[in-house]
Structures are given as structure tokens and as C-alpha cells.
Symmetry: C2
Subunit: 454 residues, 2 copies
């Protein structure tokens, strides 16, 4: 049985020709982002930060948006990605469930992030932009943008949270190999960086500080813009290729998912696999769609739906989203890509409208799941991906208890071979969970007091 | 043009059903391996180290050998691998040449090594073996065997050269994630290890020492055997899937290579892509087949064809091969996979019979080529792979000078994202070449004085 088909592949011609935009199909209209004055922001307000062609996508409610042929050309470097049947994991679990995973780890940067990095770089290039700035925490997004800028021909500057910069020297080398500049944040290269360093020369940095520096630098120059790897509507749009490909792949084998699972940080990889299926669900398909987050950063499961800023310094517009508060600093767990305080407004709305569910997992369970996955399926997952695997295993075990032959689909968002430190801690028994007491979350929320309410 | 087809793929059904054995087609018979007494060794001599089913393959001159269906099932985890048309690299070089590369970096361990690791683990399991021992230098082979043993259900113990063990802590974690034990060599766990440490407690270790330890440990137990990742005939056999797939892929696009290039260390990845084409060449095809090695370890280009041992301690049989001498220690260049003193006997015979050519490259040119590749094609190559890229670029430039539309095929043996230290050195201008003076090579050869001559 184990020599039966494992990978369901598509030809390059079958790469989607359009992105799917869930904004066209929500029951209620999406709430607008707000400026400092509490009024909805206009395209012009965003123009110093993003090129107008991406701002149009950000605000679009068109259901289908054409993928430019040149972008498809770049995506073909690694897409369509294979959909795997996890036969060996199924066997190890003794479950009657069928488990499929979409392997987004095959991109040059190792995760799903290049799906939007390529698109953003291309639209900026079309708009005449010469340089992109961004921030990165764990390094996945910075790597993806560096790769994309190298191929498309843009300068790229990445502000990397200082503690990650120091702990993961090879992420920096990876970005430099693709020609990007990578500096530790806070840096002496921006006013806000100098201000922070003057007050605390030894700060480990944070994603909020790095965003502030990247935005400040982009605003210094007419031909420079800023790129964000998650949260925004156009990022969710670009990631929809994942779910659209899966729909075609499932059709090829005559199967269809009962349960869809993705890990949720800012929301982009969860949205990527699930949004096209939410459309199916609106048309009557019986599917459970589950976003799984760390119990150490429980945005969907424990935070309130609020207007909040995307960064500590509140330089970004206020977004309607589930947020732990823009000053929330999650514990030092290994899944750096899931440590964001907020959640994409579109994912937030999908939860509020009941299209999706949310669960959380502690990191010990995640690494246990990841190691089982590596030893059965072969590929070593990213710590973020491990959250989706843990929830998948929970569901597969439940199917076993119930004796039901369910079909489970998981987004395998990236490989973990640049992030083996967490595996080391797990294997040495030196890993802990970080459940958060209610008081701590309530305290974190207070930074949102006084902000406009949705 | 750049959105034209990039990847030529095969379905799982098109994975080869047989391995190709070049030993059936050599003009002369292969010289036998010799024992310490200078007499040809028998299968029984090898039985304490390898299982009999692999010894039969090692000595076979059958042209086609069936790939067991279960092994095909494991290979399908990542095979068939895509053949890429390097359109963006071609454009950057302005060459009329068409460049294809076979991407063997998509395996869970990141290189072509699992092609034989899976097969060796499976045959050992069939033979009733419970545990495999091996050595690893850079870590690619140890990772591949750890991955294969995890899936097939064998214990795995890897002796990793101490200096690599200390410099690359995450290779060890990778192997441990797959359940293998990885110890620095020399270790206190073997008699030879204890002896070496008693004489020199601070030794950095060497591949020769690590082989000795792995062989010693395997001989302590009836249900333990040793596995080698290159050099031997059955390894070349298992790697032939690479070239056989390329033949099918080239046929799909109606193309055929004029020049085939692979990097050459022990010879397995070069053999993998080229041996099926040597068969074509024997049947009249006009192809140049080039093995490219580091100028710091110039086995094919500057060494003599001799009988020599595979390890420093001369525990292995004597093999007929181009060898720099079993005591040769190459300079500290980054392509750890190309630092072996010898060359596979089959590759050696292919050179002697004129089927292949050999070139060498300095490591500065290799990293220059690798960075250009990463910035045009996206994927970051392994330092070993960079040698094949450098030679490919030389040939593409020559085609440009000559105005000839040649088709160049290269084996992209693995990705380099676990080995970014060399990129760092290159980008910081801190990288050098290691040309070797004749006297040094002549001195190294002397350890072979008195060994039987072919």
C-alpha cells in the first residue's frame, strides 16, 4: 500500500491564472482601516508606503483577480507545489483518516512566503520602485523578499530583530547571498532606531521596532516602498494559489477534505489554503476549517476583536482584528513566525462570520508531532508548521476513536532545517510550554484603551 | 520567454523500474578489489561489513537490475525529481547555450544521497540487519542515512568527523531528529578511537578515522552492518536513477545534451547523472561528459591510477582507482563532500577508457558561480554543486564565444542552506583558492609505495 501514489502534482499550465479574493464573498462588508484621526484611510494615505497597484488590490472586492503572466513565470520556479498523501503518518497513527499535506516547503526560501513576495516585488517594479524595505523576525519573510528582489531586480533592505540576527547568523547570510542588505534592528540607520538605542543600547529588539524602522526608511525616498509578509488583504489574495491548487489536486484523485488545518500567526498561510474552500463552504460544502495557533500567542482563541495598530510605535493604520494589543510581547517560544500580536483582518472576519474555528497548542506537543512527522514522512517541518501537524494528529486520533474515515488536509507551510534549535531543545528535554494567565492578557490589552471600537 | 516551461517533470509511474549498471558495458573487465594479501577478495571477505544482497550487487555485471517495488515506494517521497531549464541563468550569461539542471536538492535530506541510502537501508533490513553504522564529514551522507533508517526502521549510528561535529551543530540535530545517534569521531566508543585519542586528545578527526570507527563498531555485532555513501559499485548503481530520469525528461521536450557536467568527490553524483549517458555514447551519441573536482583535491585531474585503501587505517580492501594516497589531507575548503582522496573505481575506469573528461575549479570561482545561480535561478546550491555550476558557466561562455547553440546538462546535487558558512566567507571577501604544488602531491602519493600495482 505504501508504494501507492504519494504526490499529487500539477503541470505548470495548471498553475492558477487568477487569485481568489474572499473579500467579495463575506456576508458583511469588511470594516475599513482607520487613520490616527479615527477616520477611514484613503488610498492616498497609503501611497508613501505601498505602490498604488497594490493599494488597489488591498481595497478590491473583486472575486477573481488575474495573475499577470510574468508573475506566473516566476511562481513556476517552484509551483505548482505537490500535494502529499501522508500514508506513513496515517499508518503510524493507525487512523482510518486520510491525511493530505500541501508541501509549500519546496520554494527556494523554504516556505509559502515567496507566493506574495514575488507578487509584491513585481508590482513594485512595475510601478517604478527601485528598492523595498521590510522587517523580519525568524527570518522566513526576509529571506523570501530577498530571493524575490534578486530575481526581479530590486534592492532589498531587511531590518532583522536584533536577538534573531545574533542567534541566527545564517538567515542573514541567506539574504545576503540573494543580494539583500540585512541589518540588526534597532539600528543607527533610522531616527527611531537611534532613539531606541539611546534609551536602551542593549535592547534585544522587537518586530514592532523593526517595522517602524522599515517604514521610516521607506518614507525617506520616492523610489522606495515597504513590503509586509502577512496580515494585509493583498497578501491573503496572493496566497490563495495554495488552496486553488489543492482544489485541482483533490479533484484529480477524486477526494475532498472534511477538515482543513493551517497554523495561524499573521494569517497568510492559513488563509492561503483555506479561503478558496471557505467559498466552497458558502456554497454548501460540509467542511471544518481550523486555524491553529500557539498557546503562547493566542490571538484567535483568547483575544478580543478590536481596532489596533500593527506595530508598537503605532506608525501603521489601525486594523479591525483580533489582537492581544500592539505592546504584547509573547514568550520566547521557537515558532517565531507565530509571535504576532494581531491577526489578518480577513481571517478575523472569517472567524466572526463562523466560517472557521480556532484551536491552540503548546510547543511541546508541536515538537512531538513534528518529530513523528519527520520520522514517518521524511521532511522536517518548520516550528510554525508543527502547529498544523499537531492539530492534524489530534483530528486523526479522534477519527480513530470514532471509527470514521475522514479526509484531513493540512498546509505544510515550510521546512525547518534553518530552525533546528527548537528540535535540539525538544530532543534534550529542555523545552517548555507557555500557557498565559488571564491577568497577563488583560494587562496586555490595556494598550488598546481609547482606540476606536469596531 | 521566461514564463515558458521551466520544470520538466515525470509522474511517479515514470520513476525507473530498473537501475543501470555500467559494469556490464565497459570495454575491459573491471579490476577486482584486493585483500591485504594482494589476492582478489571474495564475497565472504565482505560479509562482516555488508549484507550479502548488497555484496551481490557490488560484484554484479548484469546491465539492468530491478528496483524492488518497496524501494520505489520510498523514492517516491521526493522522486522523480524535476529537470529545470535554467532560463534566467542563460539570459544573465547571454549565452546561446541551453542549460538544464537536475534538481536533486528536493529530497528530505537535501541532496542525491538518499537515492542509495534508502536502497542500502532496505537491503540491510531485508537481510535481517537491525543497525547501520557509517561515517560522515560534511554531514550530507549521515543525514541521508539517518532519514532512510528512520523510515525503514533501522537503528543508525553516525561517526562524524570531530571538527565538523563542532562547527556544524545543526547537522547533528538533523540526524537526531530522524532518530539517529551521532557521535564526534574519534570517540571513546571504539578501540581505534580510544587509541587515537590517547595519542592526540585534541585531534580534529578525519574521514579516515571515522570510517575505521564505523567499521570497527559494525564488526562487533552480528546484526549490525556498515554503509558507505559513495565510491562503491552498488552506490553508483543506485544513483543511476538520476540519469535514467533525465533521459525520459529530455525526450519529453525533444532535446538531448551535448555536454553533461557533474561535480566529482567520491563519484556518486557524477556517476548518477552520467552513466546512463555513457551507455548512449557507446552507442554512437556525440556527448562530452565532464567530471569537475576542486583544485584542492584533484583526484581525476592530477592523481595516478593505483590500488589504494579507502581509509587511513587501511581497514578497507584495496580498490583500483585514481588516488592521491590514503593519507592525503586536503586543505580546509568548504566543499566537504569533495575532499575524498580517492575516486570510485567505476568512474576511474570510465576515465581510463575515455568515456569522460575531468576538470578542476578553485573555490572562489565556485562561489562566484553559486551566487550568480542563486540570484538568477533562486535556489542556493551546495558548495559541492557549485563546482558543476562553475564548469557549466565556463562551457556556456565558450558556446557564446563560438556562437554555438549547445545543450548543457548539469547535476544539481543538493542545496546549500545547511552550509552557508562558505557563502559568508565569499561575501566577506575572506575566501581563498588552494592550488597544490606538485611536490606536495608527490609526497602524498608515497603512502601507496609497495601496494600492488594495477
Amino acid at each position: 500500500m505504501l508504494s501507492e501514489q504519494i504526490k499529487i502534482t500539477l503541470s505548470e499550465d495548471e498553475l492558477p491564472k487568477q487569485w481568489y479574493n474572499l473579500a467579495a464573498d463575506f456576508q458583511g462588508a469588511m470594516l475599513p482601516p482607520l487613520g490616527k484621526d479615527g477616520k477611514p484611510i484613503t488610498p492616498e494615505d497609503l501611497a508613501p508606503i505601498f505602490p498604488m497597484n497594490l493599494i488597489e488590490q488591498e481595497m478590491s472586492t473583486e472575486r477573481w483577480i488575474d495573475i499577470p503572466e510574468e508573475i506566473r513565470g516566476y511562481l513556476k520556479i517552484w509551483r505548482p507545489t505537490p500535494l502529499y498523501r501522508a500514508r506513513r503518518l496515517e499508518k503510524a497513527l493507525g487512523t482510518p483518516a486520510k491525511i493530505y499535506y500541501k508541501n509549500e516547503g519546496v520554494s527556494p526560501a523554504g516556505s509559502h512566503k515567496p507566493n506574495t513576495a514575488i507578487a509584491q516585488a513585481w508590482y513594485n517594479k512595475q510601478f517604478g520602485i527601485k528598492k523595498l524595505t521590510t522587517e523580519t523576525g525568524a527570518g522566513q519573510w526576509g529571506s523570501a523578499l530577498a530571493f524575490s528582489c534578486a530575481l526581479i531586480g530590486l534592492e532589498c533592505k531587511v531590518f532583522m530583530v536584533r536577538i534573531s540576527f545574533d542567534h541566527k547568523p545564517f538567515r542573514k547570510v541567506m539574504m545576503q547571498t540573494w543580494g539583500a542588505t540585512c541589518v540588526p534592528s534597532p539600528s543607527m540607520e533610522t531616527a527611531i532606531g537611534r532613539k531606541i538605542l539611546a534609551e536602551d543600547p542593549d535592547t534585544p529588539g522587537s518586530l514592532g521596532m523593526a517595522i517602524s524602522e522599515a517604514v521610516e526608511e521607506c518614507m525617506q525616498s520616492d523610489d522606495t516602498r515597504y513590503a509586509l509578509g502577512s496580515v494585509l488583504n493583498h497578501v491573503m489574495l496572493h496566497q490563495s494559489v495554495i488552496g486553488l491548487e489543492v482544489q485541482a489536486q483533490m479533484k484529480k484523485v477524486g477526494d475532498y477534505p472534511d477538515i482543513i488545518i493551517g497554523c495561524a500567526g499573521g494569517g497568510s498561510n492559513f488563509a492561503g489554503i483555506s479561503f478558496p474552500f471557505i467559498n466552497d463552504r458558502m456554497h454548501g460544502k460540509d467542511i471544518r476549517i481550523i486555524g491553529t495557533e500557539p498557546e503562547a500567542c493566542p490571538t484567535l482563541t483568547r483575544a478580543k476583536f478590536r481596532y489596533d495598530a500593527g506595530d508598537v510605535a503605532m506608525l501603521t493604520p489601525l486594523l479591525p482584528m483580533f489582537s492581544l494589543g500592539h505592546t504584547f510581547v509573547p514568550p520566547a517560544m521557537h515558532a517565531g513566525g507565530l509571535r504576532y500580536h494581531g491577526m489578518a483582518p480577513m481571517v478575523s472576519q472569517a472567524l466572526r462570520e463562523g466560517h472557521i474555528e480556532a484551536t491552540s497548542v503548546g510547543q511541546v506537543e508541536c515538537y512531538e508531532a513534528a518529530v513523528l512527522f519527520a520520522r514517518t514522512e521524511g521532511f522536517i517541518p518548520a516550528p510554525e508548521t508543527a502547529h498544523a501537524i499537531a492539530e492534524t494528529i489530534r483530528q486523526a486520533k479522534q477519527a480513530k476513536e470514532e471509527g470514521k474515515e475522514k479526509t484531513i488536509l493540512m498546509n505544510w507551510s515550510g521546512h525547518g532545517i534553518m530552525d533546528l534549535k527548537g528540535y535540539q531543545a525538544y530532543l534534550e528535554g529542555d523545552l517548555q510550554n507557555y500557557p498565559l494567565p488571564d491577568e497577563l492578557l488583560e494587562r496586555a490589552e490595556r494598550c488598546m484603551d481609547g482606540l476606536p471600537m469596531p
